[in-house]
Symmetry: C2
Subunit: 677 residues, 2 copies
Amino acid sequence: MEVTRKNYKECLHTVYSAIEEADFLAIDGEFSGISDGPNVSALTNGLDTPEERYTKLKKHSMDFLLFQFGLCTFKYDQTKSKYIIKPFNFYIFPKPFNRTSPDIKFICQSSSIDFLASQGFDFNKVFCDGIPYLNQEEEAQLREQTEERRNQHANGVGTPSYISPSSSKGPSHVPEEHKDFINKVVEKVESLFSNDEKTLDLEPCTGFQRKLIYQTLNWKFPKGLHVETMETEKKERYIQVSKVDDEERKRREQQKLEKEQEELNDAVGFSRVIHAMSKSGKLVVGHNMLLDVMHTIHQFYCPLPEDLQDFKEVTMCVFPRLLDTKLMASTQPFKEMITNTSLAELEKQLKESPFKSPQVETAEGFPSYDTAQEQLHEAGYDAYITGLCFISMANYLGSFLTPPKAYISARSKLIEPFFNKLFLMRIIDIPYLNITGPDLQPKRDHVLYVTFPKEWKTSDLYQLFSAFGNIQVSWIDDTSAFVSLSQTDQVQIAMNTSRYAESYRIQTYAEYIQGKQQEKEKLSQTAKTWGEDGWVKSHYTSTTTTAGFGYPRMRKRSISPVQGDQGTKGADGWNQYSYQDGTGNKKMKTDGEQTNAVESKTSEGWLKTTDASDSAGSSPVPDERSPEGSVPGNDAEGTVTWQQAPAAHGRKGQKNKKKKSEAAESTTSLFEVPEVW
Amino acid sequence: MEVTRKNYKECLHTVYSAIEEADFLAIDGEFSGISDGPNVSALTNGLDTPEERYTKLKKHSMDFLLFQFGLCTFKYDQTKSKYIIKPFNFYIFPKPFNRTSPDIKFICQSSSIDFLASQGFDFNKVFCDGIPYLNQEEEAQLREQTEERRNQHANGVGTPSYISPSSSKGPSHVPEEHKDFINKVVEKVESLFSNDEKTLDLEPCTGFQRKLIYQTLNWKFPKGLHVETMETEKKERYIQVSKVDDEERKRREQQKLEKEQEELNDAVGFSRVIHAMSKSGKLVVGHNMLLDVMHTIHQFYCPLPEDLQDFKEVTMCVFPRLLDTKLMASTQPFKEMITNTSLAELEKQLKESPFKSPQVETAEGFPSYDTAQEQLHEAGYDAYITGLCFISMANYLGSFLTPPKAYISARSKLIEPFFNKLFLMRIIDIPYLNITGPDLQPKRDHVLYVTFPKEWKTSDLYQLFSAFGNIQVSWIDDTSAFVSLSQTDQVQIAMNTSRYAESYRIQTYAEYIQGKQQEKEKLSQTAKTWGEDGWVKSHYTSTTTTAGFGYPRMRKRSISPVQGDQGTKGADGWNQYSYQDGTGNKKMKTDGEQTNAVESKTSEGWLKTTDASDSAGSSPVPDERSPEGSVPGNDAEGTVTWQQAPAAHGRKGQKNKKKKSEAAESTTSLFEVPEVW
């Protein structure tokens, strides 16, 4: 269902009830751009920390507009054994509500716009008919302003509470230069009382004069008048004075109040849908959804906080349960079976055995999507497809139960390991952002931080480190990069060799991080200890509460941070990831070819790795012996039998050696010379 | 005629010939926004210097997109005694040409977008079908890249000039890791020669590999092959090798060359129209055209220079003759008769006596505009209306000739005084930016520069200066403003009084300017002397040439900078301007009401002053006794009789006293309290 400003109000209750009845919600957003940085490598470095990545996305992506929001609600019908779906496609535009509301500026990126245009995107629906919105602060401000104006204008209502402290209750002070003007107004109003006219239109005047008129008339004629500000066709404001009896006056006041209230709600606009989703506490599914979540919060709740930890808190307030299908598909047991996790490809693969296309039916009154006739990159359709992918994968998990189950509900414990972990694009060793806990902190003691003259290219770095075998280069900026060595014990050799270098400088990763932290001058850092398995175990305590959200805080989750089999990390901390796309080791600025397509989040086919989520892939699977409890129907699940990897932390199994050698086979493709021609 | 990417190529020659045959060109632009500053007062201060204003516009307006360009060509038909017009409405969008072309980001301002939407603007025509463009540097880069690629790929053409120095002429060096790959390719090509196939499609590979293939095949098989890079549906690049005889190979090379050339021209796109306008040297008419000119140069020529003087030079290179109808309408003899110089109002007033609606006819094949059915804010229509206004005003000047003339050509000396003076919005005492000479530099020795705590509002300043009678406040930022006193001799009193002030600080305007210039640490300033008449006479010499423009530099104009009757400046340098809109003396940030409408250039009705161009209004009129020379037909003009103001510089006539007292009558409205309610 397409929803614009034109049909928004009549649709709102349909949206509300769809959310209310749903088992889970799938979402997708389309933006006016992805990155305002010079190129994508400025935005993503394969060795970004989650903090760095968050900061970059916040800095380089939030000035774009989320202008199409797809919501598809999924409700399981037990009798039909299928999902009933209600897809919505909202067009969003920050149309200024009035002269006091913010005049939003947003950036458009030509390549993104052009891409959407090529997909048949209707920009007029956004710019002409987009639904407005306010974030929480803007909404509060507007309500306050309305309240204030109401108090100032309160004429004859009589209840002192309606008169704000600032408005005088006696005769207001009229500055000398306005006395003539005000006296004339009073004369006119007096003559209104003595003639047959019902209303009197005063000349357009300034806001200050209008204030004086309100105050004076309110004091001089406490009864029998209704005073209202009107606008001429030329948008000049003037005051209309009407003779009214007491009842009429009250009726008009009431009308005005209701109208104001309605206008306010209209201004809050699309944010009300997000509020409803949030309040419902339902599982929200998205594909590669970090940017969607960031934009949604940024536009409809509050400007994103500086700090990643604060962002996580806010996110949990707004969306207490998130699931990213891209992360799910890149995780065990799916990652071995799914070669391409882009939404379009994922959807295709999940139609094939051993997966099953879910049975779905579009609810009556909703136009039905046809997956054969792809409408990708329409947010509503993408949300729908994302929901299908989630169902297929969830149901597949059911096949491991004894006895196998064909339907796994959105409330099943089977899917909880995937909750609140948002896929991180192109980070070599951290597959996801963990919203409800500390992030994975892989050892990076085989990584060097190298600075050099800006003329250097990737080949110069390969040259420099040619003695160390395979290396992996992750550009940071023009004059620095991370170089990952294949052997940690080579680090010291490299450091020693570089001691007398003049043109370049080498630091260990630890030194680099230390330097950055010193720069930040952060006073209190959470104590961290290196675990045996190479992940840092933070003392994670989430005690701070982000104020300003009236939505239920997430109840403490019982899921501990996923710290699975770290077997694929060898003793030297080295692990091979095969990025078929060379972005990680490619200096974008030197190649004369901007990979516009790559920059576009919507064409995410570029990330062909299935290894990036290695560590997540070996997440421990929670004990599934207990039945699902609150789920209606006979939904108890048997023993889980699909645990391929042992759940013990930090254990280095025999399997790993095989994995490692497999990985080694593919290393040559890692060090491909960048596509500069 | 609507022109989009779809019909652009077939229209281009129609556009060229319309420009070629025209007597003058009228233009208008629509933008995605006006100001990215917090509010309009940040962009315009009533006492900005031209340099400051230019810098602000450059900083706060150039990131918007000029996305609709209106061009209306006017050609006078002697036999019909009417103008034949050809209106064009171009939709512009920086669609990336290929992966190497810049991925432009631009800002959209909600209020501007919403305004255009309300006027029925078709955004899909911009974003889906907009004509691309390149500025001069981007065009040069692209041509260079194409040339380089052509040289690199030159296979078998044989002429050494086709091979760039960088490409090896012998066997190219194939890195160890690619040797296998290249050998296999060579094997495949060899077998192509021995089988019946005509073409061979290689596997998609990297750019570096493609380069190696080109080099190797070129060396191994100098004859009999055509090698070309193709793209799969998935945008993967691969190489196609075809067996060809010599003739076929040459034909293909030629085809490829022509195709590349055409693609290049397509990429230059809309810039070609601007180039044609520029080359023609025709008079270009616009209404309030400073932003149009800035955007046009910025988008289609080069990023705007830092310095105003350089901007003037560039402008003269691109548009050697400009005329701003808003400036013309605010100047003698029109300013007394025209109360509102907004385009829509101007057009209406110029239909009434003593003006005459010009006789125009739309050329065959062009859809005709109906001025009764207003289509304002479509750039093509606005350009058309602007041209009509120009004709009406120009013809009106003819009525002062003896004998009167009904038709005044665009080449008439009568209109030369209005050339190259672009209207400056809301500067109290500088009506225009003088593109071909030094700008007016009014005495501002009655002006104080005041700094104060950011809590201060306009009323605090009135309070502070209450002893000095009428003052005028021009906000600079949160903590500073200009305060204009009505008497210059009060300046010293104010300075003395403020000596012991703690919360605020007062400087004279001269001190302020000195401070700013010291900040700038500009080394060589042109020597300036104060003239008796209060204008600075700069030693203006335009010797520097902006490189990079292949277009004819303007021939030295014989028009000296307009320095007319300065009579309206009283002995104290004080002059009253009645701004009906209070922006000049209103602190935007404190009032909670952003005047969005005001910020929009397209809704320019806000500027109701007819006094802002006071000084320009008394421009000396050049001697009109000489016939027009090159104009075909009997176009000689008689003695000018409409000179109302004496042309002598600096003379203070009796008339001024009357003017001054008239102005004084209107001062109360100047000091209105800002509209904060």
